[in-house]
Symmetry: C2
Subunit: 639 residues, 2 copies
Amino acid sequence: MNEVDKKLESIHEKILDILPENLSISSVNYEGPELVVYTSDPKKFAESGDIVRTLASSLQKRITIRPDLDSLLPPKQTEEIIHKIIPKEANVTSLDFHEDTGEVLIEATRPGMVIGRHGSTMREITQQIGWTPDVVRAPPIDSTVVSNVRNFLKQQRKERRSILERVGRHIHRPKKSSDKWVRLTTLGCCQEVGRASFLLSTPETRILIDCGDKPGSEDEFPYLHVSEALGAGANSIDAVVLTHAHLDHSAFIPLLFRYGYDGPIYATEPTRDLMGLLTLDYLDVAAQEGRTPPYTSEMIREAIKHTITIPYGSVTDIAPDIKVTLHNAGHILGSSIAHFHIGDGLYNICFSGDIHYRGTRLFNGAVTDFPRVETLILESTYGGRNDYQTDQKQAEQNLIEIVKTTTENGGKVIIPAFAVGRSQEIMLVLEEAMRTGELSELPVYLDGMIWEATAIHAAYPEYLRDDLRKRIFYDDENPFLAPQFHHIERGDEQRQEIKDEGPCVIISTSGMITGGPIMSWLEHLGNDPDNTLIFVGYQAHGTLGRRIQSGWEEIPVSGSGGRTRTLKLKFNVETVDGFSGHADRQGLLDFVKSMHPRPEKVLCVHGDERSTRDLSSALYRQFNIRTFAPKNLETFRFV
Amino acid sequence: MNEVDKKLESIHEKILDILPENLSISSVNYEGPELVVYTSDPKKFAESGDIVRTLASSLQKRITIRPDLDSLLPPKQTEEIIHKIIPKEANVTSLDFHEDTGEVLIEATRPGMVIGRHGSTMREITQQIGWTPDVVRAPPIDSTVVSNVRNFLKQQRKERRSILERVGRHIHRPKKSSDKWVRLTTLGCCQEVGRASFLLSTPETRILIDCGDKPGSEDEFPYLHVSEALGAGANSIDAVVLTHAHLDHSAFIPLLFRYGYDGPIYATEPTRDLMGLLTLDYLDVAAQEGRTPPYTSEMIREAIKHTITIPYGSVTDIAPDIKVTLHNAGHILGSSIAHFHIGDGLYNICFSGDIHYRGTRLFNGAVTDFPRVETLILESTYGGRNDYQTDQKQAEQNLIEIVKTTTENGGKVIIPAFAVGRSQEIMLVLEEAMRTGELSELPVYLDGMIWEATAIHAAYPEYLRDDLRKRIFYDDENPFLAPQFHHIERGDEQRQEIKDEGPCVIISTSGMITGGPIMSWLEHLGNDPDNTLIFVGYQAHGTLGRRIQSGWEEIPVSGSGGRTRTLKLKFNVETVDGFSGHADRQGLLDFVKSMHPRPEKVLCVHGDERSTRDLSSALYRQFNIRTFAPKNLETFRFV
């Protein structure tokens, strides 16, 4: 019997000691970070109230109770009972019985009502049917990605379970070393923006944090090929943690699977879905530009299949000596600060990922309370000494003013924006302005991936800002579903129609005018001096956006037959600063200032050389913390 | 045709362009760092004076000319001619014809006379016989190790040549990356003494520098098992450079071959032989202590077979982007400072190895002139703020005084000493004192490996201090051969006889009284209050030496049948400080002060935490250099 089996056996005995005599269990097993306990008395378990919580706290594990399969009612019969228990208003949209695990997946428009007060409805379901209910929210807007991911995972249930069992046994493997050290290796995004990637290592475990591309560069990858990264093979990595879905953090996660990795990826649920959306788009763009991407969509499916989602705040074992907890980072949907607790109180490291310190309309500000943090790896995008941004309130005023002026004069407004985050922020600003009457009602057209990204936001309201979530949850007032928002579904035909109609706002990808439907909008609307183009995000050097912003009035576009022709632009061009998804200089300083506890060391990364150096010296001066502005390919030892 | 063959072809053509019309070559090939040029006109080459130097400087390579085999006279005939050309006084002891390479190895007592003024005698030999002469010194004292190594390499000539060809092609492989970085990973001896090991890496090349054990610890190895070391297999290392033969730098070099390494080791010739001596002894000691060593003597032979020796000062290609030069370090025979020139003027790093700044009787002081040095990796054994040692002149006076007093009173002197370095230093002190009459003539008995180690010193006088070398070379006055030195060859019987004779000095291993023949001497002589034991080296905590030094008068020794009994010590115990092989605090500061150029960064290693920190801050304060006291397992990036 190997060590893991012995451990499971001793856990089995321990559970029997804890359980009251009338409860029995048949077996225990690991699935990913969870302990699955099988019982032939699922109903009694459900009746015993807090017993699962008691077990979880004595075993220090997340626990799932599963029924033995022969103890279950047939699905048909069960279905009726479920519908009787759950209130109509919950609006159950589907029931899906997993006969291999005894779980029934309940999709409902209002999952809170399926759960009930403190889980009472769920417990009642189990008591009556034996099956273990699991609840997901029916997306209020149809999201292709969310439903594709859910269907795919459903098809792959069997393989997925064997992955989880394998990962579970690996997480709970016996420790092999008495040596103690904690190290961090920088594989990208040091003294630069892009290709975020870090390796956290101990004598037991090697964790890769993020694995992104470098925008604007085709040949700068994270340093995966050096010995300490994948030199001993992709499976020398025990786990991957993804802080958020932006491509400069996620683009090469699927590549790991092409290299033979078959371990877990830990991320929030929306990060998993957005990673799917953005990496598929990454492949599309590469194909359009005639480049051969380093992996195929098959590898994206592998990545999704290997993703273990964890909610904010849940302390999760990912190795014999490492627990990870993800916390809201305020940057984009599902974005997280990853907190690693290493050893038994040995060391704690936080990776900020990308953060927004103050709240935005979409998200609460980044979390700053942690049980312990010795070292912080901090993004520095706007860490430079002059990187202060306009306050968002002022930015919103500026935006509304320009929209108002343009549309009152009969013109149309075009806003190029990133699909994820910025677009939804602008939608919320416009929705409120129209609702409060500050702006008269206007159609707002969403083009490119924006609609899909918005649907994903709507599917995960738990990840949105408190008051926004409250509006959606309790007040049944989903601003993304406001009637003025329209999705462009019929391509250029529809755009032509819109051109011929009255004033409106168009939000379209790509955000830096490097391709996508925004190109059509320039053709349709660029020639009219009544229209206005508003930049709401950073325009990188070398992009068409940057050129238009700096005053070009004639731009080259590709015409039919691949020829390039010139497009004359006569519309107004405006820039509204202050909608960044990143903390500015002040936000970064405030983030560290309000961290509780304050870290002993800060490594400033994810910013150009000047920004990381500036931020590093400012933090040192203000808080007397040891700070560093590392280069790529360095290894720091903390313990 | 692969890239290396193409390069060889173009070199072939280039040589033809350079050569005068009457000279021809048949082929060129790499053997290790050298370019071997084959010709059917070896005699004409020899006549053409400087042509080899011209080729070497235009090709920037070390060049060896070899005759085509069919152009050679038969050995018998050749032998006569050689003996005619070389003066009798050279005392040729053997001729060895290598028919595979057309080389003839000439061993002589006075190799300088075989070479002749500016190589004139050698050239004359080639002109007359066609064979390429190679000269080695006949060891003036029979050294088992030197003759074993030479015989072994002779037996293995064929395999050795194929290794050299493989290594040569690997050194001259095409560069594969356009990326530029230079990194150093600390695998041992940081904030500690022992297990010296570093990894120097660039996008092209990974070099391991030293690989030693940690004295006093059985389970602390260099961190070879981490990913960036041998994670991708032992052959992910391109070359090993060994600074000197002490076990804390060399003990695990043979282990690399057990792990599958089959690349080159670069070291001086005496370092190779001493490594053989010391690692074999390491296996013996392990066997005596009932431990299973991690490798066998077979692996030591592999290490010797893969060693490419380079003399001090010779700039040697060891990778497409790295040249190494070894310089005298003044520490032990053949010890070197390893200077690495990386890229084409990109970066320069010096590894001090262990150094002695001032000269000793045996060796010149460490070299301090380098073409360029940006970073110095500096030993810090005596880097602590109070680590100042007695001046050696004074130490010698103290030693002589004690020997004099003891022996004049009819007593015997016992000096426990390390076989390599310290023993020879003491021998030279005693020899001079007796020669000048400061001390009357006394027999000096050498026990343990000391005689063998001394024989190795005598075999390589080029590596000794200028005036010592001059005495041996030109004045034919080898102090190691002075008549008062006697080798203990008959074990305890001989020791008993010596006990019963008059006053004498005994120098015996082990230096810290942890085993070896010194144990017998304690039994024979420890009980006599007329005798004196003199410590001349550091006694580590936990050793018997340390206990005796601190005043123990009864010590446990293992008796017959494995039982432990008590030995009473009545002899005098003295300590003479000042014979260290290491620079003291002042020496380390002076070394950096006199370095030309002064490095920009210094990493203080090979010293305990306090010593490395003290030295690091002293160097920073005095010279305003960036200094570090790294931990093990860190990676520094310099470019």
